[in-house]
């Protein structure tokens, strides 16, 4: 399996990475040779091997208590743009997808 320039472009869009043409070329080359190197893994017989996944020990749980926030500084101090209690970022309706008010994506 190898990766084409259009694949890199597509993936970069999915990952929200702005890449200039030179970077795109370099990344296509880099990723191509890395994926080629990874191909060695196809020699492994993975038949019957279960993928290592989540830890098997049971997840510890917390009690349903509202504890005090543990922020030593308010979010306003770290936000690049902050207005009237909100994190703010620019929006161009023509470019930025329309969404339900209460984003029901979740």
């Amino acid at each position: 399996m190898t990766i084409k320039r259009t694949d890199v472009e597509k993936v970069a869009a999915l990952a929200r990475l702005e890449l200039d043409q030179a970077e795109l070329d370099a990344l296509t080359d880099d990723c191509g040779s890395i994926l080629e190197f990874f191909e060695a893994i196809r020699d492994v017989d993975v038949e019957g091997a279960t993928p290592a996944g989540a830890l098997e020990h049971p997840a510890p749980a917390r009690d349903d208590q509202a504890e005090h926030d543990r922020l030593e500084r308010p979010p306003a101090e770290m936000a690049p743009e902050w207005r009237e209690g909100y994190f703010v970022l620019p929006r161009l309706p023509a470019l930025d997808a329309e969404s339900v008010d209460d984003d029901s994506e979740a």
């Binding site: 990952a15 890449l19 290592a52 830890l55 690049p80 930025d96």
Partner: protein, 490 residues
């Protein structure tokens, strides 16, 4: 000569308790040494930020307590350097990335809280490959760290700053993080001791995630006892980390002292390939002979899936990384690309400008490996091979081996720039270290010899959560090797 003659933590503690040394003095000399290391040409580049006045106040408090004979914590007054991907509320946490330049976390990592509670002084944050992605510390967004033993060479990575700070004698203790060898390989390159604990032994809360199922915070020091002492302070279950194990924490430094008599050391043949650097191979063989002479049983074993570990590791790590790095979007914290007029532009431009080349490579590869149609071939296969590698280790330990010995890295420290344009060559620096992360077993690197003046690290691995056996064996190996760690072999 270097490391061996510098005082260990136990000596510093005794000097502080007897008041022959004051915390204030110790701290000032550390801060001075750090400043000096960057004033030289070329600068060492081990630290990205250094603590200021408030630390002197802490030192004064500790001095007062020690003067009064009050009870103090186990690391009272000991300077500790912390890798810059571990959150501290009073110093920046940049992860070596432009995207987090000037970011100061509004909370502290569990390990940092534990260090402070133990009385340790966090003197500064150390340099690393951006988001711990790299094996040379050349990928830092703020310039490389150099190897104190040869400034033309890399200190290894990604915890290169921590290892270099120790090797240069700037601090006696440091924390790193190890996802695929990032504590052990720099320890090997810099001639210090570095431990990757069992996955779940140390809380990851506050460790900026690279690959969550592989990441583990680990201690570095100039000897095994100091590493054990630091581990005792930071280990243990944490209610903020669901993957931390609820198991008792032994006093690791008290468990040292056993000799190698009767210790069964497995030596996997796959870790001594024909093309292994002859100097590295010789140093490792010599160390094994010394152990054997002192009564250890050395047994050849096989870990058959070793050859697939590097691809499996990168398939898993990159996928997790691509998801972990999605939060850097220029909205809530960190850098935002100036002039972006739309949400999508803020995302794309911030991430485009904020991440370095290696990070982008891994995000692209990881995103690709998780995307529709590729998941099984990449991430799925990686996780399957991972479980085969873990099974290799289970079988070896079930076969009666107490610890496994391997070289830490296939070479000694390489030159700056030597591999930076060849990602595959760089990835192969991790060939002997990634397996411990994949199998979630503990592993430690300790100096076993030198090649052309550059240190060679030997790696020991043990069963999950058996750091006691691991560190006892490492302690025995350290004593067996003795001064040979500082001399050339055959």
């Amino acid at each position: 000569m270097p490391g061996s003659t510098r005082p260990g933590v136990r000596e510093l503690q005794e000097a502080l308790r007897s008041r022959r040394l004051r915390v204030d003095e110790l701290l000032r000399s550390a801060l001075q040494a750090i400043a000096g290391s960057d004033a030289s040409e070329p600068p060492l580049g081990a630290f990205l930020s250094v603590a200021g006045e408030d630390l002197l106040t802490q030192a004064a408090d500790l001095d007062r307590a020690l003067d009064d004979g009050d009870e103090v914590g186990p690391l009272a007054g000991i300077p500790v350097a912390v890798k810059d991907n571990i959150c501290t509320a009073s110093l920046p946490t940049s992860c070596g990335s432009r995207i987090l330049e000037d970011y100061v976390a509004p909370y502290e990592a569990t390990v940092v809280r534990r260090l402070k509670a133990a009385g340790a002084l966090i003197v500064g944050k150390t340099n690393l490959d951006e988001f711990a992605m790299g094996s040379s510390t050349e990928n830092s967004g703020f310039g490389p760290t150099r190897n104190p033993l040869d400034p033309e060479r890399v200190p290894g990575g990604s915890s290169g700053g921590s290892a270099a700070a120790l090797a240069a004698g700037l601090v006696p203790l440091a924390l790193g993080s190890d996802t695929g060898g990032s504590v052990r390989q720099p320890a090997s390159f810099c001639g210090v001791v570095g431990l990757k604990p069992t996955y779940g032994r140390v809380s990851r809360y506050g460790l900026v995630a690279f690959a969550s199922s592989l990441d583990q915070i680990g201690p570095l020091a100039r000897n095994v006892e100091d590493v054990a002492m630091l581990l005792s302070v930071i280990a243990g279950v944490d209610r903020f980390d669901s993957t931390s194990a609820d198991l008792p924490v032994p006093a690791y430094h008290d468990a040292l002292g056993e000799g190698p008599e009767g210790l069964v050391v497995g030596v996997p043949r796959e870790y001594f390939p024909d093309d292994l650097d002859p100097g590295v191979a010789a140093a490792c063989r010599a160390a094994l002979e010394r152990l054997e002479r002192l009564g250890a049983e050395v047994r050849e074993i096989s870990l058959p899936h070793t050859g697939y570990a590097v691809p499996a590791y990168y398939l898993v790590a990159n996928a997790e990384a691509s998801s972990n790095l999605a939060r850097y979007d220029g909205l809530r914290y960190g850098m935002r690309a100036p002039g972006a007029q739309s949400t999508i532009a803020v995302y794309r431009e911030t991430r485009g400008a904020g991440f370095g080349r290696e990070v982008k490579r891994r995000i692209v590869l990881g995103t690709y490996g998780l995307s529709a149609g590729y998941y099984d071939a990449y991430y799925g296969t990686g996780q399957r091979v991972r479980s085969l590698i873990a099974r290799d280790f289970e079988r070896a330990f079930a076969g009666g081996v107490d610890v496994i010995f391997t070289p830490t890295a296939p070479t000694v420290a390489f030159r700056l720039g030597e591999r930076i344009d060849d990602p595959v060559a760089m990835y192969l620096s991790d060939v002997f270290t990634v397996t411990a992360n994949l199998a979630r077993v503990p592993a430690v690197s300790i100096p076993v010899g030198r090649v052309e003046g550059l240190p060679v690290g030997g790696q020991l691995l043990a069963r999950q959560f058996d750091e006691v056996t691991l560190l006892s064996a490492a302690h025995a190996l350290e004593r067996a090797v003795g001064d040979a760690a500082w001399s050339e072999e055959g």
